[in-house]
Symmetry: C2
């Protein structure tokens, strides 16, 4: 997006001020100080010049070229000024003024007025209540924040202006450089989705980062984000996940925060990688901007001291990376070149007395080894040689290979010069080696995600849609699922005790009796399910016990279902739920009555493809168990994949279904399929 | 420990050198540069002076007073020099020389020789293969590492010399000050346990920190550490937790790393708080040294911007802290003093335009509110006032209260001066607010741990020890557990099918049949357990099925156990295991066959007291379920506490038992007790 927001030809600053304590002064100061090369036109009725820039009485007087206006006048005056911009032919406006919807009803009304004006003149707006935009390559800095980030590869989109200010201040001198930054404020027009596209489309941007507190449109967010994440790494910090956090968001931007589960599923679907802290997000971003993604997860550690290497190995393993097994050739070579007491197994310890030359030979050997995907180079402080020389050789050797190299030249006081060289040579450094694990893991995860997108086909199924539509209409979830090829146990209904005895005698194997009642959704909770019925006596006893339970619960017994009992199966839950923001999601996990206790359940955005269905299964303990567990042989995972794909299809085909759950789905031995034993569904309640 | 290692009267440096590239030069340089006030005596046969300190040909010539020697001669010469020190009457020695046990058998032999010499002369040694000691208050710095930490309250013990060097370099200028630092190297004499005591006993040390790769003696470690942690916060970074990590430790120091589970239990028992990263450990340490522990977990957030507060709230809740509900009085006061649009609910947002005065009033109000235990003060960068003035007022107001105050004056470039003021005023600051959560949580956890130590009594039980001894002798675990008051279901054994039918008819309610066989420890895995037997036919069928299963598994059917079936109970596992290092541990968790799948199991060092038994239960999902879950009423937690206390007692009374496990222990309704349904035990196999 080569728009006037990031590369304007000329900028009118309406509300520019001579008072150094006002925002309207800061904007002019930044435009000049950070070397914006186009025209800078302060609009101020009373002043003649601000910082030697001549002032204009109104935007109408501003000369050409001008295609961007920054507005910092009081809230009530903004609509009028906006119209003046329109008259002047300025169609891109950043409204910094606060006091709109974030303060209440009156502000919301004013925002509506702004939207009307903007529509009339075809104006695009960022804000209100924002701090503007930065493009370090143009360069242009429309904010009033002191400081300009170093030019670089990272684009940053923020729902919080304060976060932008803090990050500019913090990143200064850290080697973390930015391409574009935008603060979106109340985003009554340009929103985070448009900006994701805008930042991702910028050729200077190699990595997209964002701090968001909510999304404007779930479906559009999913679609755009996924498309952008396929092109460039997309890292995210999401604010407002906890309960009180959600409250804070509400009072802050008026955005409705979805549940953190749904956000997790949405981010996984899009290939967005979520960081826990601001520092983590930018450490990942820098590494991805500077280094190639590792081809696999095998990491070699090259060190001059044992302790730091141990911490690194612990952290790497915690983060799902592997300690590479070096080839015999590498070990032989290292043995011939390193000091006698050195360790030539990974971690490779060159010992405290070794200098940059030894590091060079060892690093070259490790990067040449086919068993190594990435190398972490550690240098504990020593007094033999300057850290700068290590930085130089690591940078040089790493550049000759296309594998990931990360350093931990440890310390702070003595390593400043070395860090500058590493920045120049685009080698990410961490002050302590255990921090390298998080960024290597993020890089590996991105690589894995990209690889999986190759299998993106969503399977289709032959379904009698007439039958299915009828079933949905009647809330007949069993028929619906049957239309989509889900299997159920053999079963019959009985309205009386005698009928139940008769039905049970016709069922193969043992029987299960289940209360038929629309009043209770968790039937086992009120004693409405009896298992293992083998004789007439069993059936009669079960009938009488269920009747008593129903009466005790104040309910009404309409009859029972007699089902074939499915034995020695693994019980899982599969289901679909519709998220308010992100639409249909599919879930999978350990089933039965303890499903909410262990919370061994994962969710994914629908529609699923085969690979993502498998990922969903593998992300749970239930999936682990399915591969064979203790005395249970492997279960029919393929049948579960099929069930998930079909539920996913139902979710897409029938948007009126809010929830549909099979619990338990009884998964039989490999090749034997899976049987839905209990189901529960709900349609969306129409809102008035 | 006011020992010559930290406050020597005079120091002989044997192997001192004029060559600036040698360690023996660095030690002399550091002693002088970092203002050691006692005598500095370089011992060097060839030199006349080093850095203007006259040299001595041998340690015998060194004048009084001298009570510490630093040895940096080649490995083979160390034993001779050590003897010379003994002859000269020097009884404290730091051996920096490497090339001992860390390099192999020859080195181990040389270490033995050192121990012999040391014993002969009554010498205490630190090292070999270490980098020495620092006391910033004496001051003395016996290391060769460039840099001297700022004087402060934190003591640091390290199994890695490189880590010491890195931390000195990193902490410089960070406001993290040290009291004592010691690098232990191969610790053939003075080990980490002695040093924990030595550092904890130092009046300048307020917080103990340690990087360890293993413990020298599990029992002594537990006892000493717990005693010290009762006096002072004790923070730990443990190296070598993963599998490859354990290998790296082995090659590094020869210490045997125990399993990470056992370390976790040991640290919890001692009140040692384990950090994930070096930075985290020292951020915790600084906060605990500077600020009072919070009385509870209710945190107020005071901010000038929404976004950072949202991230803080998310992180605080993730770490188990609560967002304080402010009193009406506080809210009323804040409403009267803050800008109209400000938020007076927690997080309290004074808005971007407020200065240090407004912060002062708000902070005073929050610290006065009885619903607040700690306050996090956030300042996003702004252009109105200098951050130093905020630092001053926060420091001043916080000092007038005894509640925990932490700041996040965000950024880096513009906040250096403010951070210096915060250091002076002992207010810990974090660059981003979400990092405050980890340290507030650590402080809260310490407070909770200290409070629980008040209930430290280990209960005793009346047990017929003669009976119990006999049972242990015969591996009769059931009788043993019965002696200790554990209940079992009504049960009888049967050697034939007909006998089984007879026995079953005599049992109350439904029956369970279990294979009797010494060949299979997990009987249900091979189909050796049948439940819900109600009729003669059921019993006969079960007998025949078990017989078939045993035959299929190639086993031998000695008979069966007919037990009363315990229904509608919660199945848990309780057990004891003996760790090689830390001795007896008790475990608790979700029982049944999925125990290893969900790994919902926690361990604790025995003996337990009542409070710790409850903590153990509460740390699991099983404990959560026990309080009542869906249709299951609350189970008899007290009975589980009793079972755990009794197992803990058995662990102490019978050290020959290696493992004893009840799975499932069936926990009945409140007041109904718990019944051990299946047990398994093992004695320690005597080693040859």
């Amino acid at each position: 997006m080569d728009s006037p927001f990031f590369s304007p030809k000329g900028i009118a600053v309406i509300g520019a001020s001579q008072d150094t304590h006002k925002l309207g002064y800061g904007v002019i100061r930044n435009l000049i100080k950070y070397r914006y090369k186009g025209g800078i036109y302060p609009v101020n009725r009373k002043a003649y010049e601000i910082l030697e820039q001549p002032c204009f009485k109104s935007v109408a007087e501003v000369p050409d070229p001008v295609d961007l206006a920054v507005i910092i006048v009081p809230a009530k005056a903004v609509a009028g000024v906006l119209a003046e911009c329109g008259e002047r032919g300025i169609q891109h406006v950043i409204i910094m003024t606060g006091g709109f919807s974030e303060t209440g009803e009156e502000g919301r009304e004013m925002e509506k007025k702004l939207m009307e004006v903007a529509e009339e003149y075809g104006i695009r707006m960022i804000g209100p209540n924002c701090i503007g935009t930065i493009d370090t390559h143009t360069p242009v800095n429309t904010t009033f924040v002191v400081g300009m980030p170093e030019p670089g590869d990272i684009g940053f989109i923020s729902h919080s202006g304060a976060m932008v200010a803090a990050i500019i201040d913090w990143a200064s001198g850290s080697g973390i450089g930015f391409s574009r930054i935008v603060s979106l404020g109340n985003q009554i027009d340009v929103n985070e989705i448009e900006m994701i596209e805008g930042i991702a489309g910028d050729p200077q941007t190699k990595v997209i980062t964002a701090y968001i507190e909510g999304v404007s449109d779930g479906q559009a967010f999913l679609e755009t984000s996924r498309k952008m994440a396929l092109k460039k790494p997309f890292l995210m910090l999401k604010g407002g996940q906890g309960e009180s956090g959600a409250r804070a968001v509400a009072s802050h931007t008026g955005a409705l925060a979805g549940s953190s589960e749904a956000y997790g599923a949405a981010f996984r679907y899009c290939g967005i990688q979520e960081a826990d802290t601001i520092e983590e997000m930018f450490e990942w971003a820098r590494a991805m901007a500077w280094q190639p993604l590792p081809r696999g997860k095998r990491v070699a550690v090259l060190t001059n001291a044992g302790g730091p290497a141990i911490l690194a190995v612990d952290a790497l393993e915690r983060e799902g990376l592997e300690i590479a097994s070096l080839s015999d050739e590498t070990k032989k070579y290292l043995t011939s070149r390193l000091p006698k007491a050195a360790s030539v197994n990974n971690p490779v310890d060159v010992l405290a007395g070794s200098g940059p030359g030894t590091y060079t030979l060892a690093l070259e050997a490790l990067l040449t080894d086919e068993n190594v995907d990435a190398v972490l180079v550690i240098q504990a402080p020593q007094d033999w040689f300057l850290p700068v020389s290590l930085a130089e050789v690591v940078g040089e050797v790493a550049a000759a290979h296309d594998k990931t190299v990360v350093t931990s030249i440890m310390g702070k006081a003595s390593v400043g010069d070395a860090l500058k060289i590493l920045q120049k040579r685009r080698i990410p450094n961490v002050a302590f080696p255990e921090r390298a694990a998080s960024l290597l893991s993020a890089m590996k995860n991105r690589r894995e995600w990209l690889r999986k997108q190759e299998d993106a086909e969503i399977p289709d199924f032959e379904v009698d849609q007439k039958e299915a539509q009828e079933a949905v209409k009647n809330n007949d979830w069993e028929s619906l699922l049957e239309s989509y090829g889900i299997r159920f146990p053999e079963q019959k209904t009985a309205a009386s005790e005698d009928e139940a005895v008769k039905m049970a005698s016709e069922i193969k194997g043992k029987g299960v009796m289940k209360l038929v009642s629309e009043e209770f959704s968790h039937k086992s909770d009120i004693g409405g399910v009896k298992l293992g019925l083998k004789s007439e006596a069993d059936v009669r006893e079960a009938w009488s016990e269920i009747r008593k339970s129903v009466e005790k619960a104040g309910g009404n017994m309409q009859g029972v279902l007699i089902q074939q009992m499915v034995e020695s199966a693994q019980e899982v839950i599969v289901g679909l739920v519709r998220d308010q923001q992100f639409g249909p999601m599919v879930l999978f996990g350990s089933g039965g009555t303890d499903v909410e206790l262990y919370k061994d359940v994962q969710t994914a955005i629908a529609p699923l493809n085969r690979m993502r269905a498998k990922d969903l299964i593998n992300a749970t303990k239930a999936g682990e168990k399915m591969k064979g567990w203790r005395n249970m042989s492997a279960r029919d995972e393929e049948a579960v994949v099929e069930a998930l794909l079909r539920l996913s299809r139902i979710a897409v085909d029938y948007p009126e279904i809010e929830e549909l759950e099979i619990n338990p789905l009884c998964v039989l031995e490999n090749g034997q399929g899976a049987i839905a034993v209990d189901i529960r569904g709900e349609k969306i309640t129409p809102k008035n």
